[in-house]
């Protein structure tokens, strides 16, 4: 699974420009699914039909899983007379994470981030007082223009039990979804694995794809924060303690029945898990919850350190247990009680 994860995280796909990552995922799931299509907003919808046995009395449940393909990035606002590239963010980018970063534009151009000076050396300027240096010397010889988009560049790092990469948010979710599909086998449920677009700019792909699918229930697979490094307080999620079952985040309260269903399933399959209450940040589940007449939703979270930096870190044990949990959830008839 590490190689899959490396391929996924080293591909570029800032929000709105997910073609390359969609192509890669499509290759990975070919042969595993009954239907693969791309919708109006570029979501990749991968359907695994029910296998015709063990149907619940009222028909197979339509379940939607969402893992977002897009990552945060930067967009060019202006190339100045000296060839320096001014930019704005795509998704939520935290200025202290930028100094010294390297970026890669969709057209292949690479660059480094520079800062205008501030009054105190320890201050970080806001984004509009930073710039990207691509090695150009004027606007004429600059290989990028207003509107071009870049992702952060950092190679995948294998630390054994743990791995770090940029865009672990949410390529780890995509990897878990792909592996779950691979391992699923027969199921009484009608399952839509949706690799969504534009989550980082407002869970947009999830909203429209959920409207199109109209599922009976659903959950997202995304990263959550961490509370187990020096100085962190009041957040109990730790790496190595298992995937997290999300009870709440800043955008959504999980349906209590979904939380119970996930906990029951984890306990029954002896999968270690954590209970998550996140006070900032949200996932695609928030958008799914409110489409049409409403959808009971939740989220399986992968604990992740250093979220929204270029070195997001997860524990491979948590990842494998997340796959186990997702497979167990999808493989059996769903009883929400």
């Amino acid at each position: 699974m590490k190689q899959l994860l490396q391929r996924l995280t080293e591909t570029f796909g800032p929000s709105g420009h997910e073609d390359a990552i969609r192509d890669l995922i499509r290759k990975e799931v070919r042969g595993l699914a009954d239907e693969i299509r791309t919708d109006a907003l570029g979501n990749l919808v991968v359907r695994k039909r029910p296998s015709g046995e063990r149907h619940p009395k009222d028909g197979p449940r339509k379940i939607m899983l969402a893992a977002h393909m897009d990552e945060i990035g930067l967009a060019v606002t202006h190339v100045d007379n000296k060839g320096f590239v001014h930019f704005t963010s795509v998704g939520w980018v935290y200025p202290p994470n930028l100094p010294g970063s390297r970026v890669r534009f969709m057209n292949g151009t690479a660059g480094v981030i520079g800062l205008e000076p501030t009054d105190h050396a320890s201050d970080v300027p806001p984004l509009d007082r930073m710039f990207i240096d691509v090695g150009a010397t004027s606007s004429r010889d600059c290989p990028v223009k207003t509107g071009d988009v870049a992702g952060f560049e950092r190679p995948f790092l294998d630390l054994g039990k743990r791995v770090a990469a940029k865009s672990m948010d949410d390529r780890i979710g995509c990897a878990v979804a792909i592996e779950a599909l691979r391992k699923l086998g027969r199921t009484p449920n009608d399952i839509y694995f949706v690799f969504t677009t534009q989550e980082e700019v407002g869970t947009r792909g999830a909203q429209t794809s959920a409207y199109g699918i109209d599922p009976d229930l659903g959950f997202s697979i995304d990263v959550t924060g961490w509370g187990d490094t020096p100085g962190m307080r009041n957040f109990e999620i730790a790496l190595g303690k298992g995937p997290a079952i999300k009870i709440r985040d800043a955008g959504m309260l999980s349906d209590p029945r979904i939380v119970k269903w996930m906990e029951r399933t984890a306990k029954k399959n002896r999968i270690a898990y954590q209970r998550e209450v996140l006070t900032d940040g949200t996932t695609d589940a928030r958008a799914m919850q409110l489409v049409r007449a409403g959808v009971p939703v939740g989220c399986v979270s992968i604990p992740c350190r250093y979220v929204h930096t270029a070195s997001e870190m997860v524990d491979m044990g948590d990842v494998e247990n997340a796959v186990k949990l997702v497979v167990a959830l999808l493989r059996a008839p769903v009883n929400l009680g």
Binding site: L41, A75, N81, T146
Partner: protein
């Protein structure tokens, strides 16, 4: 291979003046709605005014496989609502939409359907201390003054007083955002092309959350949507040698095509299509800086199971103030670009990679 501009001369200044002189604050767009219906109802057969007050007009094309193309412009403007009668012709007011608070004091205003004239006064400079002058004028202290005994209803809306004027190559007025777009859409409908089903949405409440566009898109269920709005031009000279790199758009460079804004990422296929149309028809255009702001595209894109969108705006300085400035040629070129582009749309436009 060059192509020619299509669709006639474009909207008239008289129409624009009429639109800008109407008072149509978000939530109370009746005066602009009336102008739109007066202009279009005689010829159009499929007209609906919906639960929010949007005007939704369908002009079907002819022949072949046709795409359903929604074109959107918002009728509402930012303004005020009277919230309390302070007596003696004075009224407390709240702002509706994102007004620039620094541009409110000391302006002529009109209130209500009858355009009752008033002013938002400001304490005379002679009566201020040096300290007072350093602080911004407090919004809560401002009142709309209709004159002693002046009467209006609490709940009435008001705007800066209509003040449309032509200044050489430019127009100056309140509510260029988005009467520029409304006038263009009226004209596009009058010269609707045959190759697409044109679904025109004159929307309400864009300024307070893209509300009208959401339901308009649910009604139309379009294949794609083009939004015509007005966008800020912060293109004034900088001090000393600094280069202005945050202009957003610039006056005189033509229609501003969006790649993304705060509410939507424009479909790259539609963006490329518009830029290519402009190049081949020799219509000047520019790419608006990504990010910030918002247009109805944000709501339309997320409606139903998703709609590919692109926004195109006429650049204007001093948005959301008593008097904005736009270039007439940018306005005409925006019309020309959209009119020409509509005629080039085929069902293949959404094939291919973003």
């Amino acid at each position: 291979m060059p192509i020619s501009r299509r669709g006639g001369a474009g909207p008239s200044l008289t129409l624009l003046r009429r639109l800008c002189s109407a008072v149509a604050v978000a939530g109370d767009e009746g005066q602009v709605r009336k102008i739109v219906l007066d202009e279009l109802e005689p010829a159009a057969t499929d007209v609906k005014v919906d639960a929010l007050g949007n005007v939704l007009i369908t002009r079907k094309g002819k022949g072949g496989r046709r795409l359903k193309v929604m074109v959107d412009a918002h009728m509402d403007e930012v303004g005020f609502m009277l919230v309390a009668d302070s007596g003696d012709g004075l009224y407390e007011f709240a702002t509706v939409g994102n007004l620039d608070a620094r541009g409110i004091a000391g302006k002529p205003v009109v209130v209500g359907r009858k355009h009752t004239p008033g002013v938002v006064g400001a304490k005379a400079i002679h009566l201020m201390s040096a300290d007072d002058l350093k602080r911004p004028i407090a919004m809560e202290a401002l009142r709309i003054d209709l004159g002693p005994g002046g009467k209006a209803e609490v709940g009435d809306r008001g705007t800066f007083a209509p003040n449309f004027r032509r200044a050489g190559p430019s127009v100056m007025s309140k509510s260029l955002d988005d009467r520029l777009g409304v006038s263009i859409l009226i004209e596009l409908l009058k010269h609707a092309p045959a190759n697409v089903d044109l679904l025109a949405a004159f929307t309400v409440q864009e300024e307070i959350g893209l509300r009208g566009a959401k339901v308009a898109a649910s009604y139309f269920k379009p294949d794609l949507a083009i939004v015509v709005d007005a966008t800020a031009a912060h293109d004034l000279p900088m001090q000393r040698d600094a280069e202005n790199h945050f202009y957003n758009s610039k006056l005189g460079l033509g229609p501003a095509i969006y790649v993304s804004n705060g509410t939507a990422i424009d479909d790259p296929r539609l963006v490329r299509f518009l830029i290519e149309t402009a190049a081949r028809a020799r219509i000047p255009c520019q790419v608006r800086q990504p990010g910030g702001g918002g247009t109805d595209a944000g709501a339309i894109q997320r409606a139903l199971d998703g709609v590919p969108v692109v926004s195109v705006s006429v650049p204007h300085r001093y948005p959301h103030t008593a008097m904005s400035i736009a270039r007439l040629e940018d306005w005409h070129n925006t019309y020309a670009l959209l009119s020409t582009a509509l005629r080039r749309i085929t069902p293949d436009i959404l094939r291919g990679r973003t």
